[in-house]
Symmetry: C2
Subunit: 168 residues, 2 copies
């Protein structure tokens, strides 16, 4: 069937950014299972076809989301470092733990892990971004021979995961 005259509207600004932010919101609130083009589009108030337009493959969206997700965490850590009244390692560590063990954060994290498990390219990105996060953590807390950055991150993840699983 030949389409009738179609109504279109003027290009809007920041559509890609709106989509990306919507995707992050969805991932934070509904997890990876809820991260579909339709839900993202609804949240960003755009057409579903826009999502395909700006992120032609699902992978393009999940990759952008992953990078932004870690970016946000790194920024949060830097902000903690900047605003901290005390430079005590314990206090900084507590703030870092609060951020990393936040349920929304863990939901995004577990979602990304599961997605990356069936998407080798995304897995590469996740590894790279994780190392960035690890560097930021090291920079914030200083390296410690007795508790190197990797082991520290693992410890934070473990507590976060435990709280996420057991949560009411």
């Amino acid at each position: 069937m030949r389409p009738k005259a179609l109504a279109t509207t003027a290009p809007r600004e920041g559509v890609r950014e709106r989509i990306l932010e919507a995707a992050l919101d969805i991932l934070r609130e509904s997890g990876i299972q809820g991260l579909s083009q339709v839900q993202v589009a609804r949240r960003a108030k755009v057409r579903q076809s826009h999502v395909t337009y700006y992120f032609p493959r699902r992978h393009d969206l999940t990759e952008a989301v992953t990078v932004r997700f870690i970016d946000n965490m790194v920024s949060a850590l830097q902000e903690v470092a900047a605003r901290a009244t005390s430079r005590k390692r314990d206090a900084l560590l507590r703030r870092a733990e609060e951020a990393i063990t936040d349920p929304g954060h863990m939901r995004m994290f577990t979602g990304v892990i599961v997605e990356a498990d069936t998407d080798p390219e995304l897995h590469t990105v996740l590894v790279r971004e994780t190392k960035r996060l690890q560097s930021a953590l090291t920079h914030l807390l200083g390296d410690d021979k007795r508790e190197p950055a990797a082991s520290l991150l693992a410890s934070l993840w473990g507590r976060g995961l435990y709280a996420f699983v057991i949560r009411k």
Copy 2:
């Protein structure tokens, strides 16, 4: 359209069990994203409709899988305890860590967590089963005032998760 004469065969034994085992295999190798009725059925060499017959809702399968999954881990821990030549806490702990940080195990675990996040009933089951696992761990290693079972499990999960994310 009226179906033609249908060929059926004799009931086979252990179909439910085969389906359950197949589901565990799929979850271990392909993660929660691969856990579909069609894939499980193919693996178990049964029809897709069998999966619905024995597990009417997706939840019924995921719940059974979750319980079995933790069962297996608890059994493995008990076996470690039974066969251990040394009773040293360190040696036992190392075996427990090997089991829990196995990639297949972490794949199942992360999958179940993500699934439970959108299935409140499954979440309840996961919490209950986690506590069972925790008890088994406590029983194996003995409780320690300085490192209670919860914190120990979190630590194992953290190292497992880290290894799972960073793995080549």
